[in-house]
Amino acid sequence: MTLAAVGLSHHSCPIEIREKLLFAEKSLPQALTRFQKRVPDSGVVILSTCNRVEVYANAALGPDELQAEIRSFLAEWHNTPEAVFTPHLYQHADKQAIGHLFRVASSLDSLVVGEGQILGQVHDAFLLSQTEQATDKIISALFQKAFTVAKNVRTKTNISAGKVSISSVAVDLAVSIFTDLADKTVMVIGSGEMGELTLKSLVSHGVGQVLVVNRSPERAKEVAAEYRGEPVLFEGLKANLHRADIVISSTAAPDFILDASDFQHALKSRAKRPMFAIDIAMPRDIDPAANELDNVYLYDVDGLQEVANANLEARRAEVARCMEIVEDGVEQFHHWMQGLVAEPTIVSMSQELNSIRERELQKTLSALPDLTEKQAEEVAYLSRRIVNAILQRPMSQLKHEVTHHDPHAVLHLVKRLFGLKESP
């Protein structure tokens, strides 16, 4: 049996190629069935996201054969010549394939290292495959192990600590200033896309009240209605500034619309309660001198990006620790898989010894005709216990030997010792 992972991601190819190989969500069940028709008795999972398209398969083929099957399947399904995407493919087998999945599930291969979305996507891909009965024992065990490894990586390291997108960094900073967002007021000035995204994040984190300031009263009403907020005329911006705990500004104004003195007045009116100002406009809307004021925390795009980069850097610094966990997981799973090679031989050994036992038992029972039914049952039970006791050590030792030595040589020797038939 060979385990293979063939695919491409944002690391290996541009979006134009990924687009060509992307599986539509609805077509995935059909694709799984098609693959299994193509490679009988195989287990398969297809992971198709905006950043990667990967096929994980287990089948009784050699590594090159299985990888070639996956390539042809991708070409046939997407009606794209292999030559278009093959230069961008990564093709892994056995240990490398296991390691690749574990890194992907643990978000170590993601565009944003440590993001949590990929684990859910891997989980969904596996569940779909399971529902479509496209998994086998090895693929199921592989994905279960991948989930365990990913969970360990997330809980035992800081790989997912600190936010890395502008809007989530803004929310994080707001939470580090204010105890509870529910009793806070956010004022959004202008209707920039980034500003609205940040507002949406804050609202989803339970911010209490929304004030919408816009030069266009209609637009202010529209946005305010969407967030159950209060529209404020642009002329009333400074007069209402003291009401805001959080200010998000993203207008297209060519000059500053708020300066330090505006914040100073606002602070006076609000008993110096802290204010968090997020200036996402370009050019900037708020005079940077406002950040010099005590109790005003002003972040512009660069400031937010700086925090996001620092968080990302901290995550990257954790990668080495994560890789140790992944490598441990790969070794454990690889050992388990190698142990499976011995299974048919163990079954044959057990069958062979049990047939000897059965034969000898019959002889004994024939020689003792006076035994009661209960006594005959006891003798049969004794014989089974003896065979099981004899088999126990060779079975566990055999699993150990095939993981540490050449499995073919070990199994060949055992088969010769016990007079078992060689596998075809």
């Binding site: 200033i177 008993a271 110096k272």
Partner: protein, 252 residues
């Protein structure tokens, strides 16, 4: 951080219990409250501060702060417990009885509140500084929100200041009553003088915060620096033995 918080808290409580045990043993041994040496005073403050901080920062969102103060308190408690002096000064006659428990106990509880406020200020300054510099570290995210630190700081001042003011008032009544014993210029005693300064300082801190004149980093700096100066002054008085009311007489 959860493990560190738990460990710090256990260490702190363990140290304080050890100290309380030494305190109790000394009490039993001498047959009266062992509160006549500088070490005795510091021991009691450490025990009370531990209790105050654990109580004030008991809520989950603020527990991480315990990691910052619990280990030093535990260390102080353990050292102090080990080097407790084997002697006790003679106690002034007027301080024997319930008065000692009320006046001194209340004063020490106020001191503990002020120590806790000072540590909270340090946390606030650190967090605000990181926010201003736009380079928050991992330690930053473990600290409670600025608003919460500000509320705790105000709570500690709001509770400690009236407590200290009442203590001072009771002390003044008693000193007036015992003015023959203390001498005509008892109010010029360095300790009383410093206590007035302390009351004034916390009155300013409380009222400026109460009326929104000072808040956030400026208040935190004021409380932290003010407490540090007052503590240094008290320690200096204790170490150079200039607390003299004319009643810390001979050693027993």
């Amino acid at each position: 951080m959860i493990i560190a918080t738990g460990l710090s808290r256990r260490l702190s409580v363990g140290g304080a219990l050890l100290l309380a045990l030494v305190f109790a043993l000394r009490w039993v041994h001498w047959g009266r409250l062992p509160l006549t040496t500088l070490m005795d005073v510091l021991d009691l403050i450490v025990v009370l501060s531990t209790i105050v901080m654990l109580a004030v920062y008991r809520d989950e969102s603020a527990q991480a702060l315990q990691c910052f103060f619990a280990p030093p308190l535990a260390l102080l408690a353990a050292i102090s417990g080990c080097v407790a002096p084997g002697y006790l000064y003679a106690e002034p006659r007027s301080l024997q009885g319930v008065y000692l428990a009320v006046h001194v106990g209340l004063a020490f509880l106020a001191y503990s509140m002020f120590l806790a406020a000072s540590l909270t200020s340090a946390g606030y300054i650190f967090k605000a500084q990181q926010l201003k510099s736009r380079r928050p570290t991992r330690l930053f995210s473990q600290l409670p929100a600025l608003e919460q630190l500000d509320q705790k700081l105000f709570f500690l001042i709001r509770t400690g200041y009236p407590m200290f003011a009442i203590t001072l008032f009771i002390g003044l009544l008693w000193a007036w009553h015992e003015r023959d014993l203390l001498g005509p210029r008892w109010w010029l005693s360095p300790k009383i003088f410093l206590s007035f300064i302390m009351a004034g300082f916390y009155s300013v801190s409380f009222h400026t915060r109460r009326f929104g004149l000072l808040r956030g980093r400026q208040l935190a700096y004021l409380v932290f620096v003010g407490f540090s100066v007052l503590l240094a002054a008290f320690l200096a008085l204790g170490l150079f033995d200039v607390i003299n009311y004319n009643f810390w007489g001979s050693a027993q």
